[in-house]
């Protein structure tokens, strides 16, 4: 970490498991603040009259208020302040890109280091889970209206939480056998322990949300039938679950996984735990293609599964890498190597169809492309081959057509994403809202939650007063 001195007191570093230890276990990497550190960090906040941090937060958490509560030791009150705007603080405190949201706006950050808002949010949520009295936010009187929420990821959980508090009868449908969506299949245990997601979901159930797992809406029941069954409104938050491949030779070899498959086997199906029957290729030399957070998660998981070497292959330079700084930094500390300006050309296998090597080309950066980032251009004659027995493709994902193709009334854009009003999440089908990755394409947990919040507000208006 940087040790720059300034007039402003430096922020309190997050205690972490040492890199050489944690690369061999699935336990959480950052250990969390203790009470004293949290209070000390909270006193760094200068309680701005016009807090920029709140404007940087997609769900507008009252940040100065909860920080003040920590500084004064009123933890229980602090968590209740957060709950008014955010049903999943233990999750957000861990996986939000704070550096580009709340902390990115913090006035202290202009001259020194911003207040560790994410660490403080996490502290309160963890404190409440361990010591809290289990009291729940208050619910409004029952309205008798029924809401179906499809998909139990961050967007769906937010909608369910908001609407159950407003007195509606909420049923949450999940295709997998466990709720949480990307929080349980995608984000690894060492970054977001599953027990935390479970506890957040349990809170929703205690508030009265009905949870229905193992149910694929679009197959077992479709959107129209939900209305026939008596639901008054439907929220679609099914995520961006269709893995992209590169369409290069050898992608069907054994040992080539999509990041979705690799992470689902590892996280949801707990392949790392010998008690589970989930088989998985354990690579010795692993190549992860891509430069986002998912690529970092896959690379760090592969290390923990026992790989000797893990390389991130990314076709642009470090600067364009979309992963959060903290994630790429953690990965590098743990021994993940970065092969930048490199692009895979093909995978090769043995006679049994098992992956043995990957051939790549070096790239250089040319003019900016449509995304505004400099376009990678292949360098002639730079091909090289390296040993590789496990490759994980983490180059993004598209919209899963399963639900949308079963309901033609819901209009889609040309990428297959649902067209929803960005202000309120309304789709072209009356009584149906959508939000999160199925609308925006793959994005972040907090943006999905922000979309859920807007949709929930609009749905409540509809349920209370009509469209």
């Amino acid at each position: 970490m940087q040790e720059k001195k300034s007039k402003i007191q430096d922020r309190h570093p997050m205690p972490e498991q040492p890199a050489n230890v944690r690369r061999h276990n699935f336990l959480e990497v950052p250990l969390g603040y203790g009470e004293e550190t949290a209070m000390a960090e909270a006193t760094r906040c200068i309680q701005c009259k016009n807090p920029q941090c709140v404007q940087g937060c997609p769900v507008a958490v009252p940040i100065p208020q909860f920080i003040k509560a920590i500084a004064e030791g009123r933890f229980s009150e602090g968590i209740r302040t957060i709950w008014e705007k955010n049903a999943l603080p233990a999750v957000c405190g861990r996986v939000c890109p704070q550096e580009s949201q709340c902390e990115g706006q913090c006035i202290l950050g202009k001259k020194g280091s911003p207040v560790a808002i994410g660490n403080l949010e996490r502290f309160l949520a963890d404190w409440e889970r361990k010591k809290g009295d289990g009291s729940l936010p208050e619910k409004m009187a029952a309205t008798g209206k029924r809401v179906a929420v499809v998909g139990s990821g961050p967007a769906g959980l937010t909608v369910a939480g908001d609407l159950v508090l407003k007195g509606h009868d909420v049923t949450l449908f999940e295709a997998f056998h466990k709720p949480g969506g990307v929080l349980v299949y995608g984000i690894p245990e060492f970054r977001l322990p599953k027990a935390i997601v479970e506890s957040e979901v349990k809170t929703l159930e205690k508030l009265g949300v009905n949870l229905v797992c193992n149910t694929v809406v679009g197959r077992a029941v479709d959107v129209k039938e939900l209305f026939e069954e008596g639901f008054d409104a439907v929220f679609v938050g099914v995520g961006a679950g269709l893995p992209s491949f590169m369409n290069i030779p050898g992608e069907n070899l054994i040992g080539v996984y999509s990041a979705n498959e690799y992470l689902t086997r590892a996280n949801l199906m707990k392949a790392y735990d010998p008690a589970y029957d989930t088989p998985m290729v354990v690579g010795r030399n692993v190549a992860v293609v891509g430069g986002g957070n998912v690529a970092m998660d896959a690379a760090r998981t592969a290390l923990r599964m026992g790989a000797e070497s893990v390389k991130i292959i990314y076709r642009r330079s470090r600067e364009e890498m979309p992963a959060r700084l903290e994630e790429s930094h953690h990965a590098e500390e743990e021994g993940v190597e970065f092969m930048l300006l490199t692009n895979p050309l093909r995978f090769d296998g043995d006679e049994r169809g098992r992956l043995t090597s990957v051939t790549c080309k070096r790239m250089e950066l040319g003019e900016p492309d449509a995304s505004g980032r400099r376009r990678p251009v292949p360098l002639d004659g730079s091909d090289f081959t390296m040993d590789c027995d496990l490759a994980i493709i983490a180059v993004g994902s598209g919209a899963n057509p399963l639900l949308t193709s079963s309901e033609p009334e819901i209009a889609l854009n040309r990428w297959g994403n649902i067209e929803a009003d960005p202000e309120n999440g309304k789709t072209s089908m009356r009584g149906v809202w959508a939000g999160g990755d199925i609308v925006t394409g793959a994005a972040t947990v907090i943006l999905a939650m922000g979309a859920g919040r807007k949709a929930a507000t609009s749905m409540h208006d509809f349920l209370a007063r009509g469209w």
């Binding site: 295709a175 997998f176 056998h177 797992c213 193992n214 149910t215 694929v216 197959r219 077992a220 029941v221 679950g241 269709l242 893995p243 491949f245 369409n247 992608e251 069907n252 070899l253 054994i254 996984y257 999509s258 979705n260 498959e261 689902t264 086997r265 199906m269 707990k270 735990d273 008690a275 589970y276 029957d277 989930t278 088989p279 290729v281 049994r352 169809g353 899963n400 057509p401 399963l402």
Partner: protein, 286 residues
Amino acid sequence: MFKIVKREELVPSSVILHEIHAPRVAQKTRPGQFVIVKATETGERIPLTMADTDPVAGTVTIIFMVVGKSTALFASLQEGEGYADLIGPLGRATDIEKVGHVVCIGGGTGIAVLHPIARAMKEAGNRLTVILGARSADFMILKDRMSALADTFISVSDDGSTGKKGFVTDALQETLALGKPELVVAIGPVPMMKAVSEMTRPDGIHTLVSLNPIMIDGTGMCGGCRVSVGDKVKFACVDGPEFDGHAVDFDGLSQRLSAYKEEEQAAMEIHRCRMEAQAANSDQQS
């Protein structure tokens, strides 16, 4: 829990039938669709195409052969017990229409998958030839039900213990000699589906096969079940499980199916040892 209301050993300790209470799935399922089942919290998710459904009783029927640890675990489940998870119906349903003469070919436990498709083809008014193949008479499942559906019924076995001695392709060849059918549906082991597809290719007889690759979520999310069809990569869970047999890369499919062979054998060994240890324990106690 998804309760097993009926259990039958079609082949003693090898081919098991489970009728499972799952009303929502039972009501929505059409022929050709599959479910994913998981026996326990720590178990594997396994896709199985349904052999039958009863919308009134709210049950679905699966028939599976014990081949590894997970299916051995399924087989140990008794009536009144159940599966921790059951997800379905998944995949696209078979296109059922009246086309004329349909030849339905089932091999091994593929016969179970074929059953609802053959029935629907018959109900749609097609003339139905059913060809069933198995190792021996013991493994010839659903023979009575299938022969009752068929206008022409042929069974073959590797050892000649039931029907003619030989392979389903022998029976198909005889059938083709009598005239060109409009459609062939072949469901069974990969080499069988490949051989049938090769046999119908020269005459351009439309041939459907049902694939059962390794799969996790069954909703198109993981891409694990990808299979080359023509020059395209398809996901069996959402684009299939049925595909044009003339376009499927069967060799690629066989390779991908062998991905976890070693892990599965190891897991089965450990499972067997544990079961034997348990049995020895309970013997001692009794």
